[in-house]
Symmetry: C2
Subunit: 340 residues, 2 copies
């Protein structure tokens, strides 16, 4: 029935050698004479032989596959991160299994278990739920090297993260230098490292500058569209409306800009805007938006190196923590604070 796929035995037979030698040639072992190598290679070519990944994987206990779990590839930042990772790993002979956690703990647990079951050689994850016990337990059960991507998780794994506090400080100081005193912050309402740290940086910087922290200027939303529009519009209609806004992401930033536009304010004349996270949206908006850019590609480089290192030198050195800075990309959305 089935044309019976060709195996390493066929290669060995045609080459007139043993399967052992054939295997050695295939895996580039050093101890093979040129003659044997040539014969095996000829046989491989003649038969169009390709090793079975499943068999290799079963026998050698590695899958040459990396598991990746991000909350949502649709998020441009994760998209870029994945693309960069995929490039690095593919060069190294690994493929990537990508799963979207979608901030659903059950889903995340299920994905993590599947990664374990499928014997991923390494894992890069950014779980949406850093505090969920089930998720944490699922992570702890993982037996392969792990890189945690911008999360605060207490676990023996390598961490890569962004310096949100410092980024926020840079943005605020830039605005304060332009004379702004009332600076609003619009964020996702989430129990996430990014949000936590950004608020932390926001409060700390204002405090250090001797400005008061006005709760009405800190808006957290749980849906990126209409609530943002409403709340921000409301804030902009206050007599003591802010003269600058920092907003995160694409959707929240977009809705914030809508609110500004609806309130008949102009950027940057009436109000300055900084995006936390640089995307196509920020680049192409009119006016182009000043934004904090994260070095996603460098992080991916670093993360893939660390993980590959762990995988290859099986030794388990100390866990690593590396933090990457944001850069403030100045475009046209910030101006001096308007005089009352």
């Amino acid at each position: 029935m089935r044309p019976k796929q060709i195996s390493i035995r066929d290669v060995a037979a045609l080459a007139g050698t043993s399967v052992g030698s054939a295997s050695r040639v295939i895996n580039g072992a050093p101890n093979v004479t040129p003659e044997i190598r040539a014969k095996v290679e000829r046989a491989i070519a003649a038969l169009q032989y390709r090793p079975s990944h499943a068999a290799q994987s079963l026998r050698s206990r590695n899958s040459k596959t990396i598991g990746c779990m991000f909350s949502d590839v649709t998020n441009p930042l994760y998209g870029r991160a994945f693309r960069a990772l995929e490039q690095r790993f593919f060069e190294a002979g690994y493929m990537l299994l990508l799963a979207n956690g979608l901030n659903d703990p059950e889903r995340e647990i299920s994905i993590l278990n599947t990664f374990q079951l499928r014997n991923m050689d390494g894992i890069i994850i950014a779980p949406g739920n850093e505090r969920h016990l089930g998720v944490l337990e699922a992570i702890r059960k993982l037996t392969m090297p792990i890189v945690i991507y911008d999360r605060d998780i207490e676990i023996d794994a390598d961490l890569v993260q962004y310096d949100h506090v410092e980024g926020m400080r840079a943005a605020l100081e830039y605005l304060m230098a332009l004379g702004h005193r009332r600076i609003a912050l619009v964020l996702w309402k989430a129990e996430s490292r990014a949000v936590r740290r950004r608020i932390e940086g926001y409060n700390a910087t204002l405090l250090a500058a001797g400005l008061q922290i006005a709760p009405e200027l800190l808006i957290q939303v749980d849906s990126p569209t209409s609530p943002v529009l409403n709340e921000v519009t409301q804030m902009l209609n206050r007599p003591d409306a802010p003269t600058a806004i920092i907003a995160q992401g694409t959707q929240i930033l977009g809705s914030t800009l809508r609110a500004i536009s609806v309130s008949n304010k102009r950027v940057p004349e009436d109000i300055s805007v900084i995006g936390f996270g640089d995307t196509d949206f920020a680049t192409h908006y009119s006016p182009p938006l000043t934004a904090l850019r994260s070095p996603v590609e460098s992080v991916a480089d670093y993360a893939s190196n660390v993980l590959l290192g762990r995988i290859q030198n099986k030794q388990s050195g100390e866990s690593t923590l590396k933090t990457f800075p944001y850069t403030l990309v100045e475009r046209d959305s910030c101006g001096p604070a308007p005089q009352k």
Copy 2:
């Protein structure tokens, strides 16, 4: 050394049955008595047994994995498509290997070969190079069911595609009904089905409406940023500048809007704009942009169903072709053509 992972033999031993029965229970075979089933399940729970994916895969010749190759997940449309596919397949017990072709033929070939080597159960691909002989050959060598995603490729595979011609017609007729006669089109310069069809629809519709086809209104760029800006700005400064523009994607659309803004024209008062492809960018721009929306999620639903069908009922029915319509989402970027 290694804690020797628990295998089906351990389960069978603890349950006091044969490995055969254990296997039957694991795979939900019908011919098992409740007693045996219970014993095996108890043993599985007690040992925390998880079947080895590699062994299952080797023995049963399926990997429960789908290969996905898109040009770039960073493109929001592919991002959405992947997310939708991943959700459907994960529910069905499959995981997705995602690789970005990056429009590089060598890379695409290499990815396709790897998919074959790794014995993917099915494949969904949108190669960047529809005409590249090497890529075509690599596709033809694939032995598993294939779904081709919005490409014109002569091959025995299921095709899902978007009706770009009809979408273009809808956009143009909408603009013509608003009185526009000179309507520009800004596109990526690529040998791709999408671009080809869109131009086809553009020409056909103008022709049918009795309008002349003005070559200066059709701009194709090979880089999404500065060239667009220049060429579109130049076009807008002509005495016979268009009163409406259709632009594709996020980046080209963004640059086009920049050009409009730089030329001191307002949307929609001076010029109407339609985006070909609906994204966060279009939704959140000021004003929100009228755009052609593709039913990415429906397509993913359909594609996953077709592929799963092929995989499960191994029978090879006729190849399928399904075309999905664009919807024109009316927002605030189109208005009546300005009177001279």
